[in-house]
Symmetry: C2
Subunit: 202 residues, 2 copies
DNA sequence: ATTTGACTAATTAATTCAAAAAGTCAAAAG
DNA sequence: CTTTTGACTTTTTGAATTAATTAGTCAAAT
């Protein structure tokens, strides 16, 4: 019964995701996940060969959902600017939701040395770049220059701005209630100037 | 003889700078600095109350020199673009030169909790922002919109891009011979689009 | 094919302790 | 009175040891 096994795998993924999102990967033990599901640890290991595989599978699930949303935005957003703004909001949503997994920076959780995780992250970044690229390509008024390096530069700039501002706030002792809002605002402001800059060259 | 004391302080600063730049602050001991100068440790402590004060004084010296160069660029560069490009190169030069002091990111060296260091860094960032702001203000074609938020956004974007790309490269196992060159290239590319974007709005 | 109790192996966290480095002081030298 | 120092104390750092937790395995059972 391959179907049933898949269903169980999904159940495990769901429970694991919940714990990971709450406490992070390192602070979640395989025993806890097994207990949550009211199964034994060996059962858990029957479905996933090790903890990293489980974590990578969870991360993969999150990315799948993310890219489904991203594609939907890409297809339906009216203008280029609207699309890029919506993508900024989407990234924010996922950042807040899965903050504990540190899927963004590669510092602590999920040892960066791990091959399959690094691959997943790399592929995801590539995928996101391609999506952004398609957003630019769709815009006829920007068809003059190659979309790939532009998308690359845009994405690096937006991500860098996000990382930088977050880092700045973290090491500040001041109130950070607004926090993400400032990041989003600046990312949008940069997006606007960026698009104007391209339009100006066209 | 206040004059002689100042001269000695300068000598100490110079030697300390050399060691700090080579080995980093943490890996340099007060004994080594004293030995370099052929004086005893208590003598060293006669001029600087503690190691942090010494390190902060060294960092201050570096920043002073940096801002002297920055101002010279600001005064002499022809176009706005030239000025911003030259500043990017200047930052690169200082980053390479004083890499070991980690004056940029606030991770390891010089405990970020230290009050006087945090103050120095904050003031320096503010100063740099003001300089960039003046570069924008000088450009009559951009006099329509407020220079302050524009300079702020530009600086955050450029710094973020730099940090982000460096972090990316660090955690990559690939050749990084080019390394900084890619960073500089992208910072310049973003600068161009940014300026075009402003021009387009004006 | 799936599950588990009872195990082992590997990692992580806490503790100890010695070495290194920071920092002090009373006395001396110019 | 300013500057310097040998000899000292206090703190910090890092390696080594150990205890505890957690990852991962296996033979047997359903």
């Amino acid at each position: 019964m391959i179907e049933a096994a898949d269903k169980k795998r999904e159940q495990i993924l769901d429970k694991a995701l919940t714990r990971f999102a709450h406490f992070g990967i390192n602070k979640t033990t395989m025993n806890e996940i097994a207990d949550d599901l009211a199964i034994s640890k060996p059962s858990l290991y029957y479905y996933f060969p090790d903890k990293i595989s489980l974590a990578v599978a969870v991360a993969g699930k999150i990315f799948d959902e993310f890219f489904r949303r991203l594609n939907s935005i890409k297809e339906n957003a009216g203008s280029t600017k609207n699309a890029l703004f919506a993508i900024i909001e989407l990234r924010k949503e996922y950042f807040e939701k899965y903050y504990m997994l540190h899927l963004t920076e590669s510092t602590t959780e999920l040892n960066i040395n791990n091959e399959s995780f690094r691959k997943l992250m790399e592929e995801s970044r590539e995928k996101e770049k391609t999506s952004i690229q398609e957003v630019f390509t769709k815009d006829e008024s920007l068809s003059q220059f190659p979309a790939e390096p532009i998308a690359d530069l845009y994405l690096d700039s937006i991500m860098g701005l996000g990382m930088f501002l977050m880092a700045k706030q973290t090491k500040q002792l001041l109130p950070e209630t607004k926090g993400l809002e400032e990041v989003i605002a600046k990312q949008k402001a940069l997006t606007e100037i960026f698009l104007d800059g391209l339009a100006n060259r066209a």
